[in-house]
């Protein structure tokens, strides 16, 4: 079990900077997810932790130790590849025993540990069969078992669940969480699926284009996104982000949206926008689930009028697109009352609304 300190790590491939000045502190036994869109540098970061890629600048310390001059073979890092990288020419047994065999551990001990792990991963019935004959789900378990059996100091998983069918994915999510607690290992988990990250991780590091956007617990990230990117990325459907210019009109501060709509700013969100005097334009953010219909609940809630443009049924809920001039607001129609083309009033609670700087993207009004 190891703690990991990523200090100002940069990775360049020729002219292309894949990871820029990334710093993260991961504590012993923590389950951390590296979350971000494709190509954001999360896999590169993980490869650097594993030692598969060199670090261009900065350092990665394991319990304070720099392992960059240690061979990959000696680092004792568990790694589960996205496509599992099972030794397809070997049996399931030999796959599991590989890590122990190369350490020249005696046969009987190897055998007992292999069988114990196979039992743990519920693949005992497949032990003598060629690994290539396994189903995707079983391969997944084998990949994890193969890495776990050597008791590595940390466990790295590269999008391990993305190849699995949906039903099994939910099961494996639970399994992984249990495994992690059992083994007590530090786990780093790369994914582009936020639901996975949110449900599994103790802490999430959101990465975009090689830079760290935010690092915190799932709740923190959801409730207090540091910047526009995080606010937009987390949440399904994503937060409404509406860009515009601030204008003072008769002592009322409004956000003039490109396209004609106007959002009068009140209460908390108004003070967020005005917190930095130099800001003249920005983005207004409100989560779909926070928009409500019917009667106004608080004087600080912003009333908007729009036309019901699209109605989508998603499972038990209905998503509604509300058109205000040329701008779209996405909300939930909880009461199932709205009709297409209908003109409705909807409310944006100012306490739940967020302000973001147009240029830097950071959230305004946060200390």
């Amino acid at each position: 079990m190891s703690s990991i300190q990523i200090n100002n790590v940069t990775k360049r491939f020729g002219d292309f900077t894949a990871v820029e000045d990334l710093s993260l502190d991961i504590e012993e036994g923590e389950f951390v997810a590296l979350l971000g869109p494709s190509g954001c540098g999360k896999t590169t970061t993980m490869n650097m932790i594993a030692g598969i890629e060199d670090i261009s600048e900065g350092s990665i310390l394991f319990d304070g130790q720099d392992l960059s001059s240690t061979r990959i073979q000696d680092r004792n890092i568990g790694f589960v590849f996205q496509n599992y990288a099972i030794f397809t020419h070997l049996s399931v047994y030999r796959n599991l025993s590989y890590g122990l065999e190369v350490k020249k551990i005696n046969k009987s001990e190897v055998d007992s540990r292999v069988r114990a792990m196979a039992d743990r991963m519920s693949i005992t019935h497949r032990l003598e069969q060629p690994a290539s004959s396994l189903s995707v789900n079983e391969m997944q378990k084998l990949a994890i078992g193969r890495s776990a059996i050597v008791e590595p100091r940390i466990f790295l998983l590269d999008e391990p669940l993305s190849n699995l069918d949906a039903g099994f994915r939910a099961y494996m999510r639970a399994e992984l969480k249990v495994l992690q607690h059992e083994f007590g290992q530090t786990m780093i988990y790369v994914t582009h699926d936020q639901i996975e990250a949110m449900s599994l991780a103790d802490k999430i590091a959101i990465i975009d284009q090689g830079k760290l956007m935010q690092y915190g617990s799932p709740l923190d990230i959801y409730n207090s996104p540091d910047n526009r990117f995080v606010a937009n990325f987390i949440g399904s459907p994503g937060m409404n982000l509406i860009d515009g210019k601030l204008r003072e009109e008769k002592s009322q501060l409004k956000l003039m949206v490109h396209g004609g709509a106007e959002i009068p700013l009140k209460g908390q969100v108004k003070s967020n926008f005005t917190s930095d005097g130099s800001v003249h334009s920005g983005s207004f953010g409100i989560r779909p689930q926070d928009i409500y219909f019917g009667d106004k609940r608080s004087s600080n809630d912003i009333e908007m009028k729009g036309i019901v443009d699209v109605l989508e049924r998603v499972g038990p809920k209905r998503i509604v697109h509300l058109q205000v001039s040329e701008t779209n607001f996405i909300a939930f129609d909880d009461q199932d009352q709205l009709k297409l083309g209908e003109k409705v009033s909807f409310f944006l609670p100012s306490e739940k609304s967020m302000a973001f700087d147009e240029v830097s993207g950071r959230r305004l009004g946060v200390i």
Binding site: I52, E53, D54, S68, S69, R71, I72
Partner: protein, 285 residues
């Protein structure tokens, strides 16, 4: 991934050592080509570089005589060089045309399913085991010591390579493209000529160069089927004698250098596809 400096040094040691072994005979032959008579053997002291570098050997094979040399040649290099060139090119044309067409027919129309294997078998047997009747036939047809006689044999002997090599290239053309063209109204010929062929053009070039190298490098078949007029470069080189006998090492080395250059140049050009050609498509780079 850091490679330890010591293992890198070790690797370079072995690589350099292997390269030295590879280059040793080549360097020797090239320098020999520029050495005058006394330096050919250790009698006068053998050194790497010629003590008195000279063009003598090259002059000799090109003109039949050279200053400072008493001996002279009956025939110069021009004849054999042209012979090699012509027969290699013609043999290549025959092999590539026949091989490409039949390969396509096999791949796309599933005709002659036994052809691939039979054609492969051609390469299994030592030429001399099957050349007697060919020599008899050739003599009977007056094909001995002719450009077309040799070219024909070259064509058939390298046809297996052309066939299998083009087969791998055709296999890589997605059948959807051809189907789309067919649906749009193209005849089979149009599809082949206007769509498939342009796609495999680089493969075709590779195939032609590869087959050319094989034909150019032939020694035995030319030895069997030529006598005087159409002797090819390798045969000429091996049997070089002057009007007065003599070792002629330097001249032979010069000939060796000239003969070796085209295949090496072409070979390096098609380096990427060498595995494919040499394993009849079983492996790719």
């Amino acid at each position: 991934m850091k490679v330890s400096p010591s293992s890198l040094v070790l690797k370079y040691f072995f690589v350099l050592f292997a390269s030295a072994i590879v280059l040793y005979p080549l360097i020797w032959m090239v320098t020999m080509a520029f050495k005058p008579y006394p330096e050919w053997t250790t009698v006068a002291g053998l050194t790497w570089l010629p003590k008195n570098p000279t063009w003598q050997n090259f002059e000799f094979i090109f003109f039949g005589e050279a200053k400072g040399l008493v001996v002279s040649l009956d025939r110069t290099i021009t004849g054999p060089f042209i012979a090699s060139l012509v027969t290699s090119i013609c043999g290549t044309i025959i092999a590539v045309v026949a091989g490409t067409l039949s390969s396509y027919a096999c791949v796309r129309f599933g005709l002659a399913k036994t052809l691939p294997l039979s054609v492969l078998q051609l390469r299994l047997f030592p030429p001399l085991a099957v050349m007697i009747p060919v020599m008899v036939m050739w003599a009977f047809l007056g094909a001995v010591d002719t450009w077309w006689g040799l070219s024909l044999i070259y064509g058939i002997v390298t046809l297996p390579f052309a066939f299998w090599l083009m087969k791998t290239f055709f296999d890589e053309v997605p059948i959807e493209i051809e189907d789309a063209a067919r649906v749009a109204g193209c005849s089979y010929w149009r599809v082949f000529y206007r769509i498939t062929l342009p796609i495999v053009k680089p493969g075709l070039a590779t195939c032609a160069l590869f087959v050319f190298i094989l034909n150019w490098s032939d020694y035995l078949l030319a030895l069997l089927l030529t006598q005087k007029d159409w002797v090819t470069l390798p045969v000429y080189m091996a049997t070089l004698t002057s009007a007065m006998g003599g070792q002629m090492y330097g001249m032979k080395a010069a000939l060796g250098v000239i003969a070796a250059i085209p295949p090496v140049v072409f070979g390096l050009m098609i380096q990427k596809h060498l595995v494919r050609g040499l394993t009849f498509g079983a492996l790719k780079q």
